[in-house]
């Protein structure tokens, strides 16, 4: 006679149930990563449901008349789900995405910022609305194809770590994940490399195994974000002056939205009569939408020593203030030593909302407002503690003082 164990050992997703009794919703974008995430869970025996979000009208976005409302990515997700033999649904999040992500993206540029809409999307659409839908469907968790790792500490608290493949790590884009969301999320690709993901895709027989990674922001055709902002906010974009740090006019521009802090190319200035030494590169060091001004200066003018963060999300246990951390101020930048010197609670209490001041131990260059600051532990370097949106980047040479003199 066989003796049935009284309790099941935890399955690979951490539930006390056999995989077939664990329902997992996988957010399937139609790319290789999320398709493989779904495939691996199917192989492990879970009850997998694929959900793809229709975020914008593909035909309208590419301005191609007669194009279907569904882009090729949705059809790819559908085909992958069919190949894996799982249920798959497409949800209409067009109006939600327009309100929460696209409008905010345009307004951010008008404020002279450089937004990161992918984070806003994770924060408002994927990990909020889609997560709620997964719960409504009685799923035990929501899985995505992000290259990040979720691990439990000694007390059973979920922590978020960088992906094992550091070249593909997506933790920067997930700084706003709340502890409650993290409890419900799973990341099946966190421990493997992109190359391994592609191998899995081939092994699973997925047609999209060789599909190129997405590079641009999904709703911006050919990366021309300026065209999109002009279409969304007609009349709001005004031409103005390009000035140096003393306020001297060096040229004109067609709208502050075309510029990003740290930008060097495409300034459209220089040559005789401007008094600019052509051998010294000029950078955009400040954007002043209220004066329709783009300020250019030298590299040292870009040195940033302190950032003020808003809408803080805190995943790290313990106090934030005084913590020795690493701060990553751009997705492509390395995380550099920093310290949280001030913190003010927001509506979300001690884990959410609020603002903080982060001092950078070595100056960083080209820090734009609207970007995110992801904060990591300084000892356990891959541990994401949270972060915030950069509301202010304080440069060593206070431009305001120079301007007013």
């Amino acid at each position: 006679m066989k003796i049935e164990p009284k309790t099941n050992p935890k399955n690979s997703l951490g539930f006390n149930a056999p995989p077939e009794n664990t329902r997992v919703v996988v957010a399937m974008s139609g790319g290789v990563d999320s398709s493989v995430a779904a495939g691996l869970l199917v192989e492990a025996g879970y009850e997998v449901i694929g959900i793809t979000l229709q975020l914008y009208d593909h035909g309208a976005a590419v301005q191609a008349k007669g194009a279907c409302c569904a882009g090729a990515d949705i059809l790819d997700a559908r085909a992958a789900a069919a190949h894996l033999g799982i249920k798959h649904y497409v949800l209409d999040y067009e109006s939600r995405f327009r309100d929460a992500v696209i409008d905010e993206f345009a307004d951010s540029y008008l404020r002279g910022e450089t937004p990161v809409p992918c984070i806003t999307c994770n924060q408002t659409v994927k990990f909020h609305d889609l997560l709620a839908t997964a719960k409504e469907l009685g799923a035990d968790c929501l899985a995505t194809g992000h290259y990040v790792q979720r691990q439990l500490d000694e007390d059973g608290q979920a922590r978020l770590y960088c992906g094992a493949d550091t070249s593909k790590d997506q933790s920067y884009f997930l700084f706003a994940t709340t502890p409650e969301q993290l409890n419900y999320l799973r990341f099946p690709l966190g421990a493997i490399s992109k190359a391994e993901t592609r191998e899995h895709a081939r092994r699973l027989g997925l047609k999209l195994a060789e599909k190129a990674d997405s590079q641009d922001i999904c709703f911006v055709p050919q990366g021309k974000y300026g065209d999109l902002v002009r279409k969304l906010r007609p009349g709001a974009i005004e031409a103005g002056d390009i000035v140096d740090t003393t306020g001297k006019v060096l040229g004109q521009h067609e709208g502050v939205i075309d510029f990003t802090i740290g930008q060097r190319k495409g300034l459209g200035i220089g040559g005789r009569g401007t008094g600019i030494d052509e051998n010294t590169p000029l950078y955009v060091v400040a954007i002043r939408p209220e004066h329709r001004q783009v300020v250019v200066g030298h590299k040292e003018d870009l040195a940033c020593v302190e950032v003020v963060l808003r809408d803080i999300n805190w995943l790290g246990q313990g106090a934030m203030i005084g913590r020795k951390v690493l701060a990553r101020l751009r997705n492509t930048a390395p995380a550099e030593p920093a310290e949280v010197t001030a913190w003010e609670a927001g509506a979300g209490g001690d884990t959410g909302g609020g603002s903080a001041v982060v001092r950078l131990l070595t100056p960083q260059y080209g820090i734009a407002t609207g970007q995110a600051a992801a904060i990591y532990d300084r000892k356990d370097k891959a541990w994401l503690l949270g972060g915030g949106w950069i509301a202010e980047a304080k440069q060593r040479m206070a431009l305001d003082e120079k301007q007013s003199s």
Binding site: C68, A70, I74, Y89, D92, E136, L137
Partner: protein, 366 residues
Amino acid sequence: MSATYLDYNATAPLRPQAKEAMMAVMDAPANASSVHSYGQHAAQKLETARQQIAALADANSESVIFTSGGTEANNQALRGFPDHVIITTPVEHSAVLAATPEALLVDVDKDGLIDLDHLENLLRSYRGGALVSVQGANNETGVIQPLAEVVALARQYDAITHSDAVQNFGKEGFTGLRESGVDMLSISAHKIGGPVGVGALLVREDLTIPPLLLGGGQERRRRGGTENLIGIVGFGAAAEAVRESGTAWLKQLRQCHQKLEERLISASDDAVVFGRDVARLPNTTAIAMQGRRAETQVMHFDLANIAVSAGAACSSGKVASSHVLEAMGAGTLAGETIRVSSGWASRPEDFDRFAEIWLQLQKNPL
């Protein structure tokens, strides 16, 4: 495939009679316009099907123009009179609304019923130059329009009339071409258990309608293109099967729907049934679960192997909010309503399963 199919207003499973009839004509070459004996045989089959459909539609067989479906029939009817102003309702199927973007829309009430006073006002302004198109029954709610009154008003003001009868054809409340007095009726095979991809526009003999598709002069020069004989034969067989099955099965469906609605309404304050107090098809229930998005409901039922639907489906399969319920002033309920529709193969236990899963979903976290 879902074990419980309650989405007949989207499409009905094929009736065995239709399948058998189609199998019987699949092997022979069949162009009904050909001179040789194959062609003659095909033409004979075509005319038999035409008579079978005309019999169910209370029409002369000459009035039947075979089309690729209800959408084409609606397009032909509505685009055939370019010098007429089209008057229709906001609760029509997209095949009507999209075919006539310039149409004047008559107000509807909370049940989706046409406002006859408003219709008369519009008709008065376009005396002798209007085409009125009003659906027989709504595809989402099953609410039946007062077609007799619409036709009487239209006649008073010399308007041409058309009715999209795709949902009520072969069901209670369908009066047919002759008795209704409508000039044109659109019908479709797959809603009555025939195959997808075939339908017909029925046109009164004294009304001349130009073809939408120009070609070889088939269908008395009213629709070019070789007739889809296999589909048409299936359509005819399905129509015959409906006629032979009488009305008892429809009464049984009505009882099932009534019982279901009563059960859910008495069990939950969140249940809202549309068009409950007006004439409705015996097979359709549009029911809202307040606070629960329709798309989530449809997924929940599909995961439990019950097929129902909500709103209008796009080619990607995404669920959009219902324009019909919005026009009825349903507010947020327009995005929280699903449609349960039954038909010839439905069983009482299908409704019991649906009710159980509906009540179960209510308990899931929001």
